[in-house]
Symmetry: C2
Subunit: 249 residues, 2 copies
Amino acid sequence: MSGVSDSCFINKLDHYLQLTEREKLDLLVLEESPQVYEAGTVLYAEDKDEADALYIVQSGRLHASTVLADGGRALLKLHFAGDIVGTSNIPFTTAISTVTVVREARLCRFPRSSLTTLFEVHPRLAALFYSVGMLENVSLTDRLRSIGRTDGLSRIGSLLLEITSRLRVTNKDFGNEVELHMTQADIGDAVGLTHVHVNRMLRELADQGLIERTGSTVTILDEDRLREVAHFTERYHRIETDWFPAAKE
Amino acid sequence: MSGVSDSCFINKLDHYLQLTEREKLDLLVLEESPQVYEAGTVLYAEDKDEADALYIVQSGRLHASTVLADGGRALLKLHFAGDIVGTSNIPFTTAISTVTVVREARLCRFPRSSLTTLFEVHPRLAALFYSVGMLENVSLTDRLRSIGRTDGLSRIGSLLLEITSRLRVTNKDFGNEVELHMTQADIGDAVGLTHVHVNRMLRELADQGLIERTGSTVTILDEDRLREVAHFTERYHRIETDWFPAAKE
DNA sequence: CGAACCTTTGAAGTGACTCAATGCGTGTGG
DNA sequence: CCACACGCATTGAGTCACTTCAAAGGTTCG
């Protein structure tokens, strides 16, 4: 039987909120044991698969994408350790985007039925789910602003900063060296540019001394200046928990 | 004292879910009586005002915007009757966008503390709030795709269809004539184009016989073809409620 | 009747795209 | 162990969607 340390939730939820023993134990029952998914695995496919569960990321990388009419692709979300994947399917029966494992990941499946119990028994955890979902909402509006209203250089800078920023949530001693696990075409699909232009903008960022590149690893050399270029606002430090219902002991 | 018909929730929540008497009564206590806000009113300002309440829209129009480094503006969300405004502030203490009343609106304030009670006492309604929030996330990813990966004509078409689609949620007998309540500059800020180009794309849509314009009212002449041009997917019909906890009678 | 705001149109400039070719690294089958 | 294929990064050149700048026409309102 799996111990508490095997839970997919402990990392991130515990970061935002000190979970009680009762909460931890109940979560262990509600979520399934972590399973390993290799890179390339499709968790569910847009407009095709039933979306009857969330997945909590213990480690690894995933992304949500959608196919365009012209055969192109858009990357809608990036998912890191601690993220809850699949929340936007909650109001639907069929998956509204395709979720792909980008880098070998350990995931806990969290069936819809567990969500029912969670909301019934643990209002405080339900509030936390709600907050985390709204955090995703904010991340989306930030990208909307970046993609809709800034040039290529800013968009790429913004993406780099968002990735580092989110990795730091679960990894405090994270430096300024990021392995992107994305091709330049992926980056383009995420920020709304072609891979050719992504290449030129990455070079430009490097030429300006803001970043350094080695393969698909990026080192941020001047984070302050990059933040200015990208008009980036940090948002993932903490969440407001004052209004949360009391925990079940 | 205000009757049930005065509640800001009945319209939309009742559309998705048959509320019980107990739920309706409790909601009436939790939400404040509707108040009228005239066009131009700023509910709260980005990075400035405390965000200690949600607002439920009974009637009228609002939008959420953010100011850019270069003085520009991005419209992040449009809010219609039945919407819950301010959810993205839930994880924060300070407002993360500016919410402005676009057209005289009747709003019910829903303080954060009411949210606490809602999650404690009415898990089913909490689930509904969660679902509605996730629906907003989906709307954002749809716009992300539209803005990041399609041309001006599609973006405008997509916006027009989203507006009509969302107005239909609370107004079944809504035709194909939409009063936008947006200037062409507003539209540009919403879809990531300049007002000049918005003008040309609107003309183009009209020239192609897809729409007809009178002032800021748009009549959709060929909705099927417009959907093709815009690559639009309808999403606001209904939400999945099977997993919701049982209602408190 | 003028001011303010919005829409519309023209003309020129540019950021990003498309097309195309080259190089590079890695894995694989002969 | 080499040859080749394949995916990815890089670079150049030409083109285009959208921008910027500028000005004129409409509408509303005090």
